[in-house]
Symmetry: C2
Subunit: 332 residues, 2 copies
Amino acid sequence: MAVTIKDVAKAAGVSVASVSRALNGRDNVTDETRHRILDAASKLRYRPNDAARSLITRRTRTIGAVLPDLHGEFFSELIRGIDVAARAQGLHLLVSSSHGDADEATAAIRSMQGRVDGLLVMSPHVDASFLHESLPEALPAVLMNAPPEPSRFPTLNLDNHGGAFAMTRHLLARGCRRIAMIGGPAGNLDADERRRGWLDALAAASLARDALLLDGDFSEESGHAAGLRIAALARRPDAVFAANDMMAVGCLIALAEHGVHVPGEIALAGFDDVPIARYVTPQLTTVRVRIADLGRAAFNRLVAELEAPGTLPVRSEVLPCEIVVRASSGTT
Amino acid sequence: MAVTIKDVAKAAGVSVASVSRALNGRDNVTDETRHRILDAASKLRYRPNDAARSLITRRTRTIGAVLPDLHGEFFSELIRGIDVAARAQGLHLLVSSSHGDADEATAAIRSMQGRVDGLLVMSPHVDASFLHESLPEALPAVLMNAPPEPSRFPTLNLDNHGGAFAMTRHLLARGCRRIAMIGGPAGNLDADERRRGWLDALAAASLARDALLLDGDFSEESGHAAGLRIAALARRPDAVFAANDMMAVGCLIALAEHGVHVPGEIALAGFDDVPIARYVTPQLTTVRVRIADLGRAAFNRLVAELEAPGTLPVRSEVLPCEIVVRASSGTT
DNA sequence: CCGCATAATGTAAACGTTTACATCCACTCG
DNA sequence: CGAGTGGATGTAAACGTTTACATTATGCGG
C-alpha cells in the first residue's frame, strides 16, 4: 500500500539498512549512495512510518500536556507558549483537558502513556499528590502550579504569594487600610497562595486582624456576588483585591451598579492580567503573570530531562510576577 | 523492561493471541479465561504498546488539528470544542499551530502524517488550494473556514456573509444610512465574506455607492487607527461595522479619545462575540459565532468519515451566526 | 462409538523500522 | 605480496501487537 523503506531500498538498489542510515544522517554512508537514496525517497514520496519507528526506538517525539481546562485566555496562552517551544524542537504536542478532578486527570495521563515521551501536567488541586501514583515511573514529567513539596517531579509555579504580597503592599502604599480579598475556589493552590500573600502583607502592616475575606471561585459571577455584598456593607473596605481578574471584573460591575465609585471609594485589583483587564472602565490594576513563559519554561525543563534523563536535580522553580498599576487603583 | 502482552500471557497461562482477544473484547474467549487474563493484566499493570498496535492496525486513535494560530479567545474556544468531542470518542488530539503561511501549514501536515487518523484543518488563507496537494490522498480531513469550492474535502464555514448581512440590516433598521466597515486582512476568507455581506446589504438598500471601507487586519491597533481616521472625517459615518470585535474595540477607544459618542453619534458593531465585547463601555453589539460548535461539528464530520470512509458525500456546510444587540448600537 | 461441526485456544506471520553483527572490499604496511 | 585494517554495505533479529490459520477439545447426531 503505502511506500515503505523497502521500496526505497529497491529503487535505490541498496539494502534497507543503508536507506535507514542515509535518512537518519549517519556518517557511514557514501555521499554517492546517500544521494541516490535521497533521490529515490523523494521520488517515491516516502514517509517513514512513525509507529514502526517509535516501536523500536521507544521514542514518539511527542510530548503531552494535561490541563484542567482549556477555557479562557489563560490556557490559550499557556498552550501557545508550549506549542512554540515544541515546534522549535520539532516535537509534537498532544493535549488533553477538561479534567474536573484528579480521577479524570489520571485517566488522561494513563491514556497518554506510550504516546508521549514526556508530560506537562497542570494540576492546581491540592489533591495533586494523587497524581504521583498514577504517573508511570519511567515517564518524565514536569508539574505546573502544583504543590512543590513531596514531588519526584520538577515543578514550576507562579509566584502567587509574592505577587499578592506586592499588590497588597501597593494598595497599602496608596493609603488603603481596609483591604478585603475575594478568594478563589477551595483547594486551589494558586488561590491559597494568593490569599496567603495578601494576609502576610496585612500582617506585616499589623492590619491582619481586620482582614475581610469573601468567598469566590474564580468566576465572574462569584466576583459579582462578592461585589454586591461589599456594596451592602455598613462599613466598606477601601480596597478590594480579587484573587483573579474575572472576579475583579464581576466585582467592578456590581459596584458600578450600586454607584460605588472605583477607585474613588474603593480601589480594586485583580490577578492574571487577562486582556479584559485593560478594557474595563476603569482599567484594572492587576498582577501580570507571563503565562506563555510558564509554558515555555516547563517545556524546556522537560526537554532537558528527556535529553539527559535522571541527571538533573528535581527542583521546584518559581516564576516571578509583576504588578501592573492602572486606573482602578489610581489616584482619583 | 516494560510489561508486554507476553508477560500477561505467561502469567495467565495462555497464549498472546488469547490475551489480545480478551483485552479487545472479542467474543470467542471463555468467560473464565478472560477473567484470568484481565486479572493478570491489571495485576501486572499492563498497558498495551500503542506504537506496536498502530503499526499493525494502521490506526492511531488520534486526530490532528492544524490551525493558523493559537492565540486568543477564538482558538481557545475552537480547541476546546474539538477536545471535548474528541475525548467523548476516546480519541487523542494532536495540535499544531503558528502557521503564518501555507508553506508552514504544509510542513505541519506532513509531519503529522502517520501520527493521526484524520485531520482538522483551518486555513483562512485564500491560497488554501495549495493545501490540497500536500494533503495525502488517503488521509481523511475536514476543512474549516476554507473556500468551499473545489475541494476533495468536506468543509465547514461560518456564515460570515449571512452574519454580516444581518448586522448591516440591523444597523439600517436602526436608522443608520452611512455605514462604514473596517475590513479584515487581505486574502482572508472570513474577512472577504464579511465585507461582501455588508456590501450586499447596503446594495439592497441602494446605499452601496456611498460605502466607506477602511483598512484593517483584525488587530486592535488597526481598529484604533481606523477609528482615528473616522474621527477626523469631515462627514462621518453614522455607523461603523468592524470585521471583528478586537478592531471594534480599538475603534471604540479611538472614538472615545476624540470625544465621539457611541452610539449617540456613531453606532458600532463587531463580529465574533469575544468575551471582551461584553466588558467594554458601551457593550458591543456583535455577531455571535458558536466557535466551539464549529470545532465540534468539524470533528464529528471527521469521525463520520473515519467510520465509513468514502461513503459520505463531500459537501460544504455553513454554520449560522446570530446577531447580538448591545448598547453600542443602542437607542441613545 | 465414530465422524463432524463448533468453539476455544495456540502458532506464527506480518506490520515498517533500527541496529548489532557479518560480510565484503580496497587499502596500507611490513 | 599477504595479513591486517577500516569503512561501506548487507543480513537478519528485534520491537509488541493483531489476526489468519492451524490445532485441539467438546458435544452431538447417526
